[in-house]
């Protein structure tokens, strides 16, 4: 009964190919058990992760987002993660001013050797999003035309 009614968060993880994707791979090969509520999308670099992609994920029904890549100074392309970091600082401030819940986007650095950190990160994010519940506010706005809801 509990299992049926409990809310299972949908999480999209945008990760870089060189560090976090390999790190998540290590989590698997190390046979660590962790939450399965997330879908990984692999990118060449965190610098490639456009802020619009995060908004698209929310619009398509994601309740939470993980964005992860190489630690500073470890970028495969030398500076992609530095550029990404600036973009996130700016973007997060703007989202907050818009009233979009920034707690639903989890940013992190996970290296290829940190399989354990990846498992912990996913587990804690899933727990946090479960606490916050489904992101209904955004989904309502996103589905406005499909459902032909009246906007008073």
């Amino acid at each position: 009964m509990d299992n049926i009614t409990e809310f299972e968060p949908k999480i999209v993880a945008f990760v870089c190919n060189w560090c976090t994707y390999a790190g998540a791979d290590l989590t698997g090969t190390s046979r660590l058990k962790y939450a399965t509520n997330f879908k990984i999308i692999r990118f060449p670099c965190t610098g490639r992760i456009d802020y619009m992609l995060l908004l698209k994920a929310f619009a398509e029904g994601a309740d939470g987002i993980i964005v992860s890549g190489c630690h500073p100074n470890d970028c495969h392309y030398t500076s992609g993660n530095f550029h990404a970091r600036r973009r996130w600082v700016v973007f997060r401030g703007l989202l907050d001013f818009f009233g979009i819940d920034v707690r639903r986007i989890c940013f992190s650095w996970v290296s290829a050797a940190e399989g354990g950190k990846w498992a912990d990160l996913v587990n804690s994010t899933v727990a946090e999003i479960r606490e916050l519940g489904a992101y209904k506010e955004y989904q309502k706005v996103a589905g406005y035309l499909e459902k032909e809801e009246c906007n008073e």
């Binding site: 619009m52 530095f82 970091r85 996103a142 906007n151």
Partner: protein
């Protein structure tokens, strides 16, 4: 006032410029005026009601032609010109930039560097009404802010007047016109409107000079300039950007420092 007309007349008569971009009296308020003949210069006006940012025309070669062009610039226009020059969008030798001081003297700038020196005496001030609204929004809870923006933006019908009025929106192909991939829904919808404004604000991050033309141009009066204004404040704290001035260290989003600080990356 008359000095401006004198100056414009002599510039046109001597053939220094092919046109003077300034203001003329419109039906309700002053409107931009492209003065191409010396006899039309008497229509030129300049006062505090002239609020259009004329810098928006300076990135449109089809309007300027190949000759030299003079522009009557207000303070916000001068700020935009400096930013555009910093982004290598203007040709110094093709422009004559004029401004009118409070004592109605006409200044002709010798170059972009001189404008910057002139602007040092005029700090960008945020309107008290706008600052109050920003403060009010910051005092709200997340949910209230979200409701505020969803309601405000529900009036938007995607006329893109905000884009047309902004001197910094000079891309020949805008992200909203790209349909492969379709980043933003082309029709007016709550989601598309929000995504469009987020895009606009992100693209103006650290570039906006705070002229307020976007909000002024909005036919339904959405306070969209708050987004870039608020961002200007934040960027100042984070990256030492001085509002209204170009960031000499490079554009905020296309440069970085290894020692950039953040407190949210795990």
């Amino acid at each position: 006032m008359n000095k401006l007309i004198e100056k414009a007349t002599s510039l046109l008569q001597e053939g220094v410029v092919t046109k003077v971009i300034g203001y003329e009296e419109g039906t309700e308020k002053p409107r931009p005026f492209f003065c191409e003949k010396a006899e039309d210069t008497s229509k030129l006006i300049y006062n505090s009601r002239c609020i259009n940012n004329l810098a928006v025309y300076l990135t449109k070669p089809e309007l300027l032609g190949t000759g030299k062009v003079a522009v009557v610039a207000t303070l916000p226009t001068l700020r935009s010109i400096v930013q555009l020059a910093f982004e290598n969008q203007l040709k110094e030798d093709k422009l004559v930039i004029l401004t009118v001081t409070d004592s109605e003297e006409v200044i002709e700038f010798a170059g972009f560097a001189e404008i910057e020196t002139y602007l040092k005496d005029f700090k960008l001030k945020i309107d008290q009404k706008e600052q109050d609204l920003i403060d009010k929004l910051e005092g709200m809870s997340k949910e209230e802010r979200w409701t505020f923006w969803v309601e405000e933006l529900s009036q938007c019908f995607k006329c893109y007047a905000c884009r047309a009025a902004c001197p910094m929106c000079y891309c020949t192909r805008c992200v909203v016109e790209v349909n492969c991939p379709q980043w933003v829904q082309p029709w007016a919808s709550p989601l598309g409107n929000i995504e469009w404004q987020i895009n606009r604000a992100m693209h103006l991050a650290g570039r906006c000079t705070g002229c307020g033309s976007c909000a002024e141009a909005c036919p339904v009066g959405i306070p969209i300039d708050l987004l870039t204004r608020k961002m200007m404040e934040d960027l100042g704290e984070e990256f030492g950007v001085v509002p209204g001035q170009p960031n000499k260290n490079g554009n905020v989003l296309s440069t970085f420092k290894p020692e950039d600080k953040e407190n949210f990356i795990r």
